[in-house]
């Protein structure tokens, strides 16, 4: 997508439709981290798109409802800063239910865009302390040694302050999905 996406995707202009908030409500968590490339260099020109269910595990229905409602839509777009860092606040989603009734542990879906990626990456953020992780079918498909890359970890034991770093390559390479 090239280095100059911010003029199109993150315009600093009132009414930007995708600056929607994903926070609000009582169970708000803050998640921060950094994106690093294969040389360990921070990536200052990335954008993350986050999509999540609400605290009841339901996904928002329609654009019209969103315009009418004033409730958080569940979608947000966050660029990294010059240090490759991002930070956002979100309501913690509830567990979701799959087509066959299987329960998915609370998670955020994350799309990552940047110069050098000819198509975007797809990954997820889970909450490291959630007991539902043990039975999550998607985590179950990830080799055990790599699951930690999808876990937001509490900072200093604070359940509302989480850290999740992205490694594009290397031993600790983040798990990316082919969806």
């Amino acid at each position: 997508m090239g280095p100059f996406f911010s003029i199109g995707l993150c315009p600093d202009r009132a009414g930007n439709p995708v600056s929607a908030v994903i926070a609000a409500g009582s169970k708000v968590v803050s998640i921060r981290g950094r994106i690093r490339d294969g040389d360990g260099q921070a990536v200052p020109d990335a954008v993350l798109e986050i999509w999540r269910a609400n605290d009841r595990g339901e996904y928002a229905g329609s654009q019209d409802e969103c315009d009418a409602g004033g409730v958080p839509s569940g979608f947000a777009r966050i660029p990294t800063n010059e240090l490759g860092e991002f930070e956002f606040a979100t309501l913690k989603p509830g567990p979701t239910t799959g087509d066959n009734g299987e329960v998915h542990a609370p998670h955020l879906t994350v799309l990552i865009f940047m110069r050098g990626l000819l198509r975007h990456l797809v990954t997820r953020i889970y909450f490291s302390q959630d007991s539902a992780n043990a039975r999550d079918p998607v985590l179950g498909a990830v080799p055990e040694g790599r699951r930690a890359t999808l876990m937001a970890q509490q900072i200093a034991g604070n359940e509302n302050e989480l850290r999740w770093d992205v490694y594009l390559q290397g031993d600790t390479e983040t798990v990316f999905f082919e969806a």
Partner: protein
């Protein structure tokens, strides 16, 4: 949740691989470990939802965002956004961004020694209509040099970002112009292995939207991933 769309596998060769060595920036950013197969769950087959209240009619005229008109050759770009069944994707957000006529982006990191245009920001957005159509007015972007290799030039292009029926429809792509001699040398255009799929990135000259005394028309149709939830009975 029966109404969620389906997302069949993408036909091989029609989308780029992450690692494409001729594009140098991919070397340190493309994943090196195997991707984990994710059968589309409700998380990817829904959304995203963000409302359309922030999109205004004049966001689709990139030549009318300032006091005066921008320099350059006026163009009208239009097309239809379809799903894999050929059905129009209605209410899809289309975002576009581009360089000005001299090949310069209004971005602090763009160091190309070409003039900025005080009358041109180079970004716009619109929502597809009930037949999946979009249309915007702009100026033809210039080609510009980049540091990928010796004497590297990007062909003129417009960046497109689209949201469709579900997260898996998400598409960020580039539209090119017909007959551009730089295309065959461009590692980004040439990242798509399938020749026919690659050509779909080139717009076509469009008499229908060529407006007498005003602008040349270009047509760029877009197919997003996904199909209706209920397969047609045959």
């Amino acid at each position: 949740m029966n109404s969620l769309p389906f997302f069949p596998k993408v036909p091989p060769g029609t989308q780029p691989q992450y690692l494409h060595p001729p594009y140098r920036s991919s070397l340190k950013r493309a994943p090196t470990k195997p991707l984990i197969l994710l059968a589309g769950t409700v998380s990817e087959r829904t959304g995203p939802i963000f409302g359309h209240a922030g999109v205004h009619v004049n966001d689709s005229d990139l030549t009318a965002q300032h006091e005066g008109p921008p320099a350059g050759e006026r163009i009208v770009v239009s097309g239809t956004v379809l799903d894999e069944d050929g059905r129009p994707v209605r209410g899809a957000l289309v975002e576009v961004w581009q360089a000005n006529a001299a090949g310069r982006y209004r971005h602090k990191l763009d160091q190309h020694d070409a003039p900025l245009d005080a009358n041109f920001d180079g970004c716009g957005r619109m929502i597809t209509d009930s037949e999946g159509r979009y249309k915007f007015t702009s100026i033809k972007p210039g080609a510009y040099p980049w540091g990928n290799h010796h004497n590297a030039w990007r062909p003129a292009h417009i960046h497109f970002s689209l949201f469709g029926a579900g997260l898996l429809s998400r598409l960020v792509t580039q539209m090119y112009f017909p007959g551009d001699p730089l295309l065959e040398f461009d590692p980004i255009y040439n990242c798509v292995p399938d020749e026919k799929a690659k050509r779909r990135l080139i717009s076509s000259f469009d008499w229908e939207h060529t407006t007498p005394g005003f602008a040349l028309g270009y047509r760029f149709d877009i197919v997003l991933r996904g199909r209706e939830s209920t397969p047609m009975e045959r």
